[in-house]
Symmetry: C2
Amino acid sequence: MNKSPDAHRMEKIVSLCKRRGFIFQSSEIYGGLNGCWDYGPLGVELKRNLKNYWWRVMVHERDDVVGMDGSILMNRAVWKASGHEDTFTDPMVDCRSCKARLRADQLVEKNGIKQRPNCGGKDLTTPRAFNLMFKTFVGATEDESSLTYLRPETAQAIFVQFKNILEVSRKKLPFGIAQIGKAFRNEINPRNFTFRSREFEQMELEYFCRAEEGMRWLDYWKEERLKFYENIGIARDNLHALTVPDEERAFYSKGTYDIEYDFPFGRQELEGVAYRTDYDLSQHQKASGKSLEYFDEETKQRFIPHVVEPSAGVDRTVLALICEAYSEDEAPDEKGKMETRIVLRFHPRIAPIKCAVFPLLKNKEPLVAKAKEIVALLRPHMYVFYDEVGAIGRRYRRQDEIGTPFGVTVDFETLGEKDPALRDTVTLRDRDSMKQERVPVKDLPGILVSRIS
Amino acid sequence: MNKSPDAHRMEKIVSLCKRRGFIFQSSEIYGGLNGCWDYGPLGVELKRNLKNYWWRVMVHERDDVVGMDGSILMNRAVWKASGHEDTFTDPMVDCRSCKARLRADQLVEKNGIKQRPNCGGKDLTTPRAFNLMFKTFVGATEDESSLTYLRPETAQAIFVQFKNILEVSRKKLPFGIAQIGKAFRNEINPRNFTFRSREFEQMELEYFCRAEEGMRWLDYWKEERLKFYENIGIARDNLHALTVPDEERAFYSKGTYDIEYDFPFGRQELEGVAYRTDYDLSQHQKASGKSLEYFDEETKQRFIPHVVEPSAGVDRTVLALICEAYSEDEAPDEKGKMETRIVLRFHPRIAPIKCAVFPLLKNKEPLVAKAKEIVALLRPHMYVFYDEVGAIGRRYRRQDEIGTPFGVTVDFETLGEKDPALRDTVTLRDRDSMKQERVPVKDLPGILVSRIS
């Protein structure tokens, strides 16, 4: 069977991620660990840029949001109160012939009989609830008293610290608490590269408001979050805000949007924007016996606030950024022959490396010295990469493939050897258009900072 | 018994951390979880600033280091090969009278008999090895085949990806791989606030080099790391580089320095700088059967590199920064009466909030509007806080207590109402000296950026 163009495209993306150091399988030399991934030198920079931009727009640029960073291990009582211990499950079936375990809701139906999608096995056990939380024991004994879980979402850390943060931050409704951190789900079938992982990172905001304003803030945050994805370079046409139907929403939610992206493997969720009402805070107030109420100084009322939660997946967004950026076009090689060019068209704001600096030749000391001067000039402002190895065209191509938006080349004109008027100017190359402009060295920081921020 | 001045000081620091939102007990409303902590709105900013500065000097400003970000869950084979499964233990004893569990090496000896430091209990079990790794099961079964651990250190993720990263980064020896991430140790007795936690974050560099250069790089990194702590505001006098004696070093280490800090609760380790030789890579090469050798293009030799590891604790360093910054002096209150002022003298580089902006009065619209303009002017460059509530002196005091280095006040002179020459100037107040200078609004971004970077 021929692969679909989308499957072929995805294969090329996965291969590039490995080849250029964006993403590796965790523990690869030992055969990996299913559902766990490591970010290499470029992946970690991309992820950092994404998280830092999220923090900037969601926390630093707003007067109504503060941040926090909670622990992954929490008291088990949190997960009893939130409902996760009883109900955070997927229906699991075993295939009696091949012993595989799979999600009952991912079976296919053929002639009225549920089957495994791959082997077609029909001898399946009846589905049973499988809790997705990873267990561990904290302390020196291994029994019920020391059992807890790796958090399956970061949100609960915010809810249980709501009162503390309300007090120290002196905020009035509406206001939000933001957090970025790891969460863990023991997925029955991790798949689609890093999309469905067992270990993943979330960027979550819990935005607390009055009950009567919940639906308004739900729509506000849906729009804000769509803008966010556009601002990191994802085309609006590839984004979709799905209104989750009543029967598919969590029972406590009064409204949820899924923000989806057209991955090569299908349209899939990047972020959920959910109006969770006062469910979580009420549960924790009941279970802990501690008041989680808000006191309104004007109306003198006490009440549990409602909350709207935009919850984004860091790894999913990184994957969407790479999928969105991946493209192939034609460019001339050193001899002028056209060849296929792989280029990651990252928005400069999130590109791992902002600018590459090249001396035209590596064995000409004045070119090398000048290039290193420029590296030192730019470094306080951005992540810069110096490369002197190989023909200049190959060096450009290597940077195109990892999405570096700008390339600066130091040539003999920079040294003033040809035209004194061009002394201390360099060529500044744009990754996407491949056009080059001549720019004075002293203007470089200003020009580049304005283009990457 | 009276408390020692140091114990009293530590109590005040812990109290400030809670009161102002630096650090909370994890799951506090449920009685907490021993050894786990949450960072509140100010704590998360302090921690971010520390980690970002580390990444900047350890990765971005260097040509010889790249980053990575590995998963917390790894294949169990990693921990067999590294030796952690067999030997990462503390000796544990039980007190038969009060049932407490404690570390055998933390008992005190009195009249030749080992005793519990607190209750004086002498009826102790013989010490047994307690493995500090948290266990969990990955996948749908709970048995030996699916058992693994939460990583007890981030270093091993770097070692097992050494070959992948070497290939994609095209680096030559010496070069390093840096990582910041969480690690977990099931400590028998978590203590000293966040100092000895069960969940913590590490900032680690593995710096690979030739065997013959190992001792030189060990000394180089000890010096670099000491400079780092000075650059974030820790006085050199409070830092100590301890040469770990032969008998206390890991058997594979050829030399280790502990960088220690004078905490109020004693001199304790912030960072270990260890020359780990080729032990880890050799172990993983042997266990995985995959070559982890480096190929030297000049000498045509293949060999396993040696490694020097500066490994710093994020949470410990955050705690050291707060302890170092905490001070009390005298300042006049609104009526000129001297009162005690609590001030966190953070280096501006790591202070959670860089600048607070105040309109002199909150009910004068032009003052408020101008102050908000200044917030918008500064925000692209730094984390800014706007406060209009209370007398100006009280607002200064609130910022002093959380270590905000600069305060900008918009007054009637800013509006040009008194002296037209002072229009569009503000007072810029320095936290430590409490001195105020008059500065044109348009110069603020430049002045502040130069002082905080």
